[in-house]
Amino acid sequence: MKKYIKYTVLFAVALMLLNSCKKFVEVEPRGAFTETGYYRDATEAFNGLVATYDILGYQANNFVTKVDVVDAASDDNVAGGGGPNDVTAMQVMSNYTLTPALGPQDSLWASGYQGVYRANILLAKLPAVPMDDALKARYTAEAKALRAYFYFDLVRFFKNIPLITEPVTVDKAYDIVQATPTAVYAQIESDLKAALAETNFPVTVPVATEAGRLNKGIVHALLGKVYLYEKKYTEAAAEFKEVNGATPGQPSATYGYNLVASYASLWKNANKFNSEAILEITHTSKSNTTWSCLTCGEGNILNIMTGPRNYNILAGKTAPDYISGYSFLPVTQNFVDFSHNDPRFRASVANLDSLEKNGIVTYEKGYMNTGYFVEKFAGRLSDKTTGGGNVELNYPQDMYEIRLADTYLMEAEAIIVGGGDISRATALITAVRNRAYADGLQHPVAPTLQNVIAERRLELAFEGHRWFDLVRWGLAGQVLGSKGFVTGKHEILPVPLQELDNTKLKQSREWGGSL
């Protein structure tokens, strides 16, 4: 009997000792790092850099992307989709019923500042990371250039934005005020110039391993574009010339940029990182994205969004292998009327209306159907992932943020508007047109702003430039008025309503505020 007592007491006492300490309830996270314990070496710094790049391909969980929103707002597309409330943020951009409470501004504002924060925290941590100095200098240049890119989008969309260049501490979180657009542009220029001045920041990057990463060519193009928006035409033209090279239509000496021969081939998946791509936003079919987190994925959601609904090729017929998608961004009749005689039309627009009328395919007509879809982005069965995740979220098409035809036309514009070698402007526009026709003949047009405007609409259709261009040219009210655009209001997005709560931010004048 004594034995039992002895063992029981021992047992109980042992358990008491085992349990009593506070340490027991202090648990370390499994498979996760804390902010204070990270950025310990070059690899972790690189991971921080990748996280900053991640925002380039941002796609919000509510399907908002920079491109789909500005396309829906332009005169080239309408929102479409499954119904008048399918992706409301796009619908209200399409018919200009957005309000400070409802629209795409939350996603675009949030993603921009997430990018800024990731650049800021990396820049704050880098000095203390034990790693190779040259590599550190390169990462610093990239982070600054990325930050400039994020601010450029923010200032274009919102005009009145806070300018934050280092991580904000809790006690300062609510003291932030908006900066003037001039101050923001100054910071953008300063960041881009700092990157260009860095000798360890590469001029070009090896395609196989680093394509998509920033280099000096990209930053020159970005800086040129920034100058163009600042109406600093001379500086803009100089930057673009650096990118475009001495002779339009010939490879640029420093960076090797050159127009590709076939316009249509630009949107073939096999032609990623071609000689025309400058800033290419990357996507892949290998990230196994699922519906649980769209934002975490690396697939391109525009492909499924722009595909026609319930697309079936009739037996015995041959038609493009579009996937069945969600019928967003149907192309307007206005764009079709404008472009249907242009050689780029068939590479830009998928004519489902004609395919159906000729008894080749059937498809379900979605909301605001016009019969025309975005050929450039409509997903293809041949690009379908064979990996995991939801197939529809894992299309691999890259997006051109800046490509050479764009910088050609921007340089031409800068010359035409700001003065300079007008024959070069002609040559730039002609090079773009000659490539479009690809018939060995010359297709010159007069070097006028009007022609640049027309050429940009044809060449860059649906690529996310048209709306920004119209606003920049002051033509948005005239062109988009029938969609509901109000001059003096819709040039910028409202500061997200919720962002005004408890903060020192003010709404822009255009949206009834005081800034």
């Binding site: 029981t8 902010e35 975490c296 059937t362």
Partner: protein
């Protein structure tokens, strides 16, 4: 055996012998009778108070005992109230009053048991007898309607699916990590994680206790706020071995079908919508080509396909077999059982099935007089084939059956059609005759032919193996002191096996290559508890002190998830991971749970004076790994008291109350179901980017929140409870309670400015909520000769109100959504019940253009673009136009009251039972039709649509594009009364005559017939008004509860 009994008898005699010879005793005689009828009471134990000397009354109620003069005799008989009487000079005539059975019951409380008559907290108890022979698949279902204070709603009719359980309403609205309103389940003292209670066998349950107020919950501290449910399994008893068998077999079917449009009606409605859209367009552009109706001749289409017939099974099998053996000797007792349960679903049975096998062994061993050890061990194996979406508008057989057009054939039998697109060019699914299953050209997206869909999921299943149990040692070194150590574990293995064949269900739902997926997980949770309890009575005072300490570890899980793509298999049976597919076709992921640890000390003091004045106080201190550095430990106190008024002299002779107890309590409990590591700034993944042309991506990390939250702590619920228990006129028991439950510091992620760049807002304890309610339980039991009648009813009223959402936050953004509805359909706002339905209020339909023109506000016409046949929306904010600001609260999804009624009767060998339950005061959002699929089918209510002045004031006109948002705006149009009363169980039993069965050694044998969910009284037009989920009452096409008929047999040896 016999020898041993003799020995015990001798020892007992020897022990009593010296006492019997004690000097100066007088011989006391007397008779004990029943106060009710004056009849003699045999078998009453008569003990001399303060000694172990005792005797029993004989058949005529008389007794003889030698007792010291001036001593007291205590008279005890089970079922009767005990009495203490001083020894007198003459023969003693003692009458004993019947003790109301319920009040002599023992109730399981945290870390112990209490006599029900002295309990001061709000505890509802359900005993084995109430549950026996009932067709319950999961144990929480057995509580539905049985006790007050519980709202239980099945989240799906899929067999084996868990239900949403709410103890006195919702306690929190933080949803980190799932449904945090599920109560804490404690099985034989082992804390089982929330929701993981599916493994228990119905017959093994001895009792279930629901701890409803903080006074009774506080002993479980930081994990008790959502309520605690204690489950006690059966134990063996010394004596003969008992063998029991209980089984039933039956069939289930749906109790209701929706009225959907047939093919002709569908085509007519579509033509009308298209015509109206065309007419509207023509008004602005007369040059349009002539109108062509989508369907040239609707009436030629006939009835078309009834998709519901294709998915429902009217004779789904259902069975349960349970077998137990229990018994024991002087030192050891045991209870062991085996159970098997099988239930087929009523929707696409091929992919909706559930099976469970249980084994249980509970035993105790008395190693010495002062030392007992034992174990309670249960094993279960569950296998569930699920049809995927059970309450979702995004596909699945139910949603497909509702939304598919009736024109598409179930199976294409016309060879010409089968030879055309899409059948000839794609890997379509075919029936046994080789004919393709029909594919709709009208309705696409996730909505697919359910028969074809079945083939893509055939064979797939999820499984789980659970071993839940404890070992304990109990030491009683001195009288009144019990020291107990318990080690409990829950070891679970669970996973999924799924094969996906190549298939073309429609052009949006195409699987181009096979894949085989296997998920396997292992989780081992454990807890260790040590308690010491000391009880003593001094005079009329009794007190008891409990001290305890425990540690708890859960979410200790590991899992792997492997998929092989493009394996050379055509069916689930052929699929295997042994196929040697190339490495790039293999995908795998793994996961590890974040450990959740709790360390605790707790204590309880109970005191009562003469079982008349009752007092209890509890204090628990919990430390949790989920709390921030500044708040690692929390204290959770409670006090409660009771007054048994019926023990007072002034009530001794009353005829009304044979028992009356008033009680009140107050306490504080916590909820530590908050996010893991919410208090530090963690780096987050999923921030990847691709460099280079390989398509491989780089992994990126950055902080999730811009700063940490070291102050993070538990959510705190303070509750006050006042109630009374009474036995009235002997036959009625009545309990009433009022409570107020205030939850403070509900975890939210209050919005921080987006410009700070975080991906998530850091969590903080900011919101408050209040629940108040009253509950009543009424019972009646009467024996009239051979007829025994019993009835029980309970009803609970609940009012929930969000009282704060943090600084300057009036409502939470977001809410429940219904696919492409214009706005979220619910809103959580200060001053309103949690997640109330929120939308526009309709005020009828504009009958004429004059009505539209006459609806004016500040700026002229309020709905200038509306047309006759459109909804007239209330301009709530009076700004003269209809905007999002005109939405308002239009209904509460949570029932305001829930109730249950049971009626029992037995006459001679027959017994009958009917049990019903219901809810009321809630609304249901009926979201059965896809809004973004313009051609989806309708219910026949659409035939009452507006077609001209005076035709309808409730169903708007149909027009493609729906410019007024009649259908896409969330409005009261979608809400229906959610009240229902359901006859849950009806049972008729017959006990075979003892004389017959005793010949084959049986003690009892009962055959019975049961009907479950026999009928439901409701105004709700969907399948089923019982709709569980994180927010109740949102019908996206819920898998309805089955109606079942069963025959059963229950025997005992």
């Amino acid at each position: 055996m016999k020898k041993r009994f003799t020995l015990i008898f001798l020892i007992s005699c020897l022990l009593i012998f010296p006492v019997a010879l004690f000097a100066q005793d007088i011989k006391v005689t007397g008779k004990v009778t029943d106060q009710a009828d004056g009849g003699p009471l045999p078998g009453v134990t008569v003990t001399i108070e303060g000694t172990t000397r005792a005797t029993l009354t004989d058949g005529s109620g008389t007794f003889v005992i030698s007792a010291p003069a001036g001593s007291n005799l205590v008279f005890k008989l089970i079922g009767m109230a005990s009495k203490t009487v001083p020894v007198g000079s003459g023969p003693m005539n003692v009458t004993l009053a019947q003790d109301t059975k319920a009040l002599s019951e023992v109730v399981v409380v945290g870390y112990g048991t209490q006599k029900k008559s002295v309990v001061t907290g709000a505890i509802s108890s359900v005993k084995a007898a109430d549950l026996e022979n009932q067709p319950v698949t999961r144990i929480e279902q057995s509580l539905q309607g049985r006790t007050s204070g519980l709202t239980i709603a099945s989240s799906s009719g899929q067999p084996g699916a868990a239900s949403s359980v709410r103890v006195r309403g919702i306690t929190t609205f933080n949803r980190s990590g799932g449904d945090n309103n599920q109560p804490l389940w404690v099985v034989d003292g082992v804390v089982v994680d929330n929701g993981g209670i599916g493994y228990i066998n119905q017959s093994d349950i001895e009792s279930i206790e629901v701890l409803k107020d903080a006074a009774s919950q506080a002993i479980y501290g930081a994990r008790a706020a959502a309520g605690v449910i204690l489950v006690t399994t059966k134990k063996g008893k010394s004596g003969d071995i008992k063998i029991n068998y209980n089984g039933y077999y039956g069939f289930s079917g749906p109790s209701k079908k929706l009225d959907l449009l047939d093919a002709t009606q569908y085509a007519t409605i579509r033509n009308e919508a298209a015509f109206n859209a065309d007419a509207a367009a023509r008004a602005t552009n007369p040059a349009l080509p002539p109108f062509v109706a989508p369907f040239a001749n609707p009436s030629a289409l006939g009835k078309g396909t009834d998709w519901q017939d294709a998915i429902f099974n009217n004779s789904a099998k259902r069975q349960s077999q349970e077998f137990s053996i229990s018994g024991g000797g002087e030192k050891s007792t045991f209870y062991s059982s085996v159970g098997y349960l099988q239930q087929d679903g009523i929707v696409t049975t091929d992919i909706s099935k559930y099976k469970r096998t249980n084994i249980r062994l509970n035993s105790t061993h008395k190693l010495a007089k002062f030392l007992t050890i034992g174990e309670n061990l249960g094993f279960s194996h569950e296998k569930s084939t699920g049809l995927g979406n059970t309450n979702s508008e995004f596909g699945g057989p139910l949603s497909s059956a509702i939304n598919l057009d009736p024109i598409t054939p179930l199976v294409v039998t016309d060879p010409a059609v089968a030879a055309g697109s899409p059948y000839s060019t794609n890997r379509v699914i075919r029936d046994a005759n080789g004919n393709p299953y029909g594919i709709s050209s009208n309705v696409g997206q996730e909505i697919t032919n359910p028969l074809a869909y079945i083939e893509t999921r055939r064979g797939n299943y999820t499984w789980s193996d659970n071993i839940v149990g404890n070992v304990f040692g109990e030491l009683k070194p001195i009288e009144g002191l019990t020291i107990r150590s318990t080690l409990g574990t829950k070891l679970s293995y669970y996973g999924t096996e799924a094969f996906t064949p190549v298939s073309f269900l429609n052009s949006s739902t195409v699987t181009g290559q096979t894949s085989f997926n296997r998920q396997q997980n292992r989780q081992v949770n454990y807890n260790l508890e040590n308690t010491a309890q000391y009880s003593k009575s001094v005079g009329k005072s009794s007190f008891s002190v409990l001290l305890g300490q425990g540690i708890y570890v859960d979410n200790n899980s590991r899992g792997t998830n492997i998929t092989y793509n493009n394996i050379p298999a055509n069916s689930f049976e052929e699929a295997s991971l042994n196929f040697n597919v190339s490495n790039d076709l293999r995908t795998a992921s793994g996961s590890e749970g974040q450990l959740h640890k709790v360390a605790s000390f707790f204590g309880r003091v109970n005191y009562d004076f003469d079982e008349k004045y009752l007092f209890e106080a509890v204090l628990r201190r919990d430390g949790s790994s989920r709390f921030g550095a500044n708040n690692k430990f929390g204290y959770f106190p409670s006090v409660s008291g009771g007054w048994v008024v019926s023990k007072e002299d002034f009530l001794q002779d009353n005829k009304v109350f044979s028992f009356l107890k008033l009680r009140a309590g107050y306490g504080v409990v916590g909820n530590d179901n908050i996010s893991d590591f919410g208090y530090v700034s963690l780096l987050g993944g999923g921030r990847n980017y691709t460099f280079g042309n390989s398509g491989n991506y780089n992994v990126g990390y950055s902080p999730v929140a811009p700063f940490p939250s070291p102050d993070l702590k538990w959510e705190e619920t303070r509750s006050t409870n006042i109630g009374f228990d009474a036995t009235i006129l002997k036959d009625f028991t009545f309990t009433a309670e009022w409570y107020r439950k205030v939850t403070k510091d509900i975890l939210q992620n209050p919005r921080i400015p987006l410009y700070l760049g975080g991906v998530q807002n850091p969590p903080a304890n900011v919101a408050d909520m209040k629940n108040t309610g009253v509950e009543f339980e009424l019972g009646y039991r009467k024996k009239l000769g051979d007829l025994t009648l019993g009835a029980n009813g309970n009803i609970s009223f609940l009012k929930n109100e969000v009282t704060s959402l943090g600084n300057n936050v009036q409502y939470l953004s977001g809410g429940e959504t219904f696919q492409s509805a214009a706005y979220p359909i619910t809103r959580t706002a200060v001053g309103q019940p949690y997640s109330s339905f929120y939308g526009f209020k309709t005020q009828g339909i504009f009958q004429t253009q004059a009505d539209v023109d006459a609806y004016t506000g500040r700026n002229g016409k309020i709905q200038p673009n509306a047309k006759p046949g459109d909804f007239k929306y209330q301009d709530t904010d009076g700004d003269g136009s209809i905007t999002e600001a005109d939405r308002q609260f239009i209904g509460n999804p949570t029932p305001k009251y829930t109730y249950g009624i049971t009626f029992n009767a037995s006459y001679k060998a027959f017994d009958f039972m009917v049990f019903g339950t219901g809810v009321g005061g809630n609304k249901i959002f009926q979201g059965l039709r896809r809004l973004d699929i313009l051609n989806a089918n309708y219910q026949t209510t659409i035939l009452n649509r507006w077609t001209g002045p005076g035709t309808s004031n409730t169903v708007p006109r149909l027009i493609t594009g729906d410019p007024n948002g009649n259908f896409t705006n969330p409005s009261d149009f979608y809400l229906q009364d959610g009240g229902y009363f359901r006859i849950k169980v009806v049972q008729l039993g017959y006990n075979l005559p003892k004389t017959t069965i005793s010949k084959i050694g049986m003690q009892r044998a009962r055959i019975y017939a049961t009907a479950e969910n026999l009928f439901t009284i409701t105004k709700y037009t969907g399948y089923d008004p019982e709709i569980g989920g994180g927010v109740l009452s949102i019908d996206r096409g819920i898998y309805p509860q089955a109606r079942s008929f069963m025959l059963g047999l229950s025997v005992g040896f």
